[in-house]
């Protein structure tokens, strides 16, 4: 187990900094890929983990899902900067 910042946490930070912190500012996977220059498969993989951990919440219909941070996700990001 590494002491490096985990990859999914880097994605969480980027989502936060882009502004996806509430449902009306949630982002689709395509938008996330464009912002972060990450591969779709990688974004999907990390998002799934972040949703399971309760840091990201999906909104919208199946297949057209959009994602934004939960309050715990925001707090998690801020621990890196404070």
């Amino acid at each position: 187990m590494s002491r490096e910042v985990p990859e999914e946490f880097r994605l969480l930070c980027m989502l936060h900094n882009i502004g996806a912190i509430k449902s009306e500012r949630s982002l689709s996977i395509q938008e996330i890929c464009e912002w972060t220059a990450m591969e779709t498969s990688s974004v999907e993989f990390h998002l799934q983990k972040l949703v399971e951990l309760g840091y990201v919440q999906p909104t919208g219909a199946e297949g057209a899902g959009r994602y934004h941070l939960t309050p715990n996700g925001i707090r998690k990001v801020l621990t890196l900067y404070s």
Binding site: M1, S2, R3, V5, P6, F9, C13, M14, N17, I18, G19, A20, I21, K22, W35, T36, P71, N72, I74, R75, K76, L78, T79, L80, Y81, S82
Partner: protein, 386 residues
């Protein structure tokens, strides 16, 4: 006075000690009759503007984003500045008070715009948090911190150790820096708690010992050293159980260490908990361990002392100033699991002595760390530069 406070953290946007510090100071200043305006960032479920105990709180939405952290910081400073500009057309501020580097760009611009003095409270530094300057972002943050200290009329720090760090690192004149410690609202700790039901919620029985740790799960908090101390503590106290409260990017690593310690089933990570639940846990614990490797103040020590739990803390930074060894708590060597285990054993093996420590600690808190006193000292600093 009309006081303008800028902070990127304000409840319920709570990360570390800054949010609690700004809330306590703002309330105390308002209680003294000053007009206090707090400008901060938005948080889901909070209004754009509200008044809390006489404090006017403006929560600003950062309308543009960018994945890069430093660019995002500049963007939210821009939107803070716009909000400040709009409000300052109605309110003539006497003083501007910023907290840490994150709101420095907006604060410095606003200082020149309204031609009023700016006070900076430095809660921590990049070199301290990151234990050195490790990359371009770190170097940039260090530069902004220096800029803020240069532009500030006076600097407030919460401990002598932080003052030494600033004087040494930024070559600041000693008389520019004033030490005003953190404080604590003791009324929050007078709530009625049923320790048995609290302990039960976290899987700790009445015959077991609850060893509590509260802090962000980041390297500077040194929680890995507590986990490394678990086998030695359990050897001396097989009935010990460990509850670690907090969030942070190091969580996965710490959970892995806990599992690898051979005592993973005794160590519970709760994640973020609301303030009242943390107080309930502190009130119900047998010992609070603060194993930090860097701690400019360590408000969690005050919280533990106020809750009446014996505190075992690393002898670093502000902790070594807040906790008086073997009188108000136990100080142990930083980064040293054996020393942490010794400290925990000292508390758990001597209940009468531990009770004496907590009585002394509470007396000290009442005498030294009240928000009313801290607000008065802060006003003195404002008046020096007005």
């Amino acid at each position: 006075m009309r006081i303008c406070i800028l902070t990127w953290e304000f409840p319920p946007r709570i990360v570390g000690g800054i949010a609690r510090h700004c809330e306590g100071l703002a309330r105390a200043l308002a209680h003294m009759g000053h007009e206090v305006h707090v400008f901060t960032l938005d948080f889901p479920g909070t209004p754009d503007y509200e008044e809390i105990d006489g404090v006017k709180v403006y929560r600003t939405v950062t309308e543009l984003g960018h994945p890069n952290f430093l660019t995002w910081t500049l963007l939210f400073n821009h939107f803070l500045e716009k909000r400040l500009g709009r409000v300052s057309q109605q309110v003539k501020f006497d003083i501007l008070h910023i907290h840490d580097w994150l709101t420095a760009p907006a604060g410095i611009s606003f200082k020149y715009c309204v031609k009023k003095p700016m006070i900076l409270t430095v809660h921590s530094t990049e070199t301290g948090r990151a234990q050195g300057i490790h990359g371009p972002d770190s170097f940039a943050i260090d530069g902004v911190e220096w800029w803020a200290t240069y532009e500030a009329s006076k600097i407030i720090v919460t401990s002598g150790s932080m003052k030494g760090e600033l004087c040494g690192h930024f070559h600041l004149p000693s008389d520019k820096i004033k030490i005003i410690p953190n404080a604590i609202d003791l009324t929050k700790y007078q709530m009625s708690v049923d320790p048995q039901s609290v302990r039960q919620r976290y899987g700790v029985g009445s015959n077991e010992k609850l060893v509590l740790c509260v802090g962000r799960l980041v390297p500077q908090k040194g929680i890995e050293h507590l986990i490394h101390a678990v086998p030695a503590i359990v050897w001396r106290h097989p009935e010990a159980k460990f509850v670690i409260v907090g969030e942070g990017w190091l969580k996965g690593h710490l959970e892995y260490l806990a599992r690898s310690s051979g005592h993973g089933w005794k160590i519970r990570f709760t994640g973020f908990l609301p303030d009242l639940e943390v107080i309930a846990l502190m009130t119900s614990a047998d010992v609070l361990v603060i194993p930090s490797i860097y701690e400019p103040f360590g408000i969690v020590a005050l919280e533990g002392m106020a809750a009446g739990v014996p505190v075992v803390a690393s002898q670093v930074g502000g902790l070594a100033e807040v906790v008086e060894h073997d009188r108000t708590g136990i100080l142990v060597y930083s980064r040293n699991p054996e020393s942490i285990a010794w400290g925990v054993d000292r508390v758990l093996s001597a209940p009468d002595h531990s009770r004496w420590l907590t009585e002394n600690a509470r007396e000290t808190i009442q005498k030294v760390y009240s928000w009313e006193g801290i607000a008065k000292k802060t006003i003195e600093v404002y008046k020096e530069v007005e």
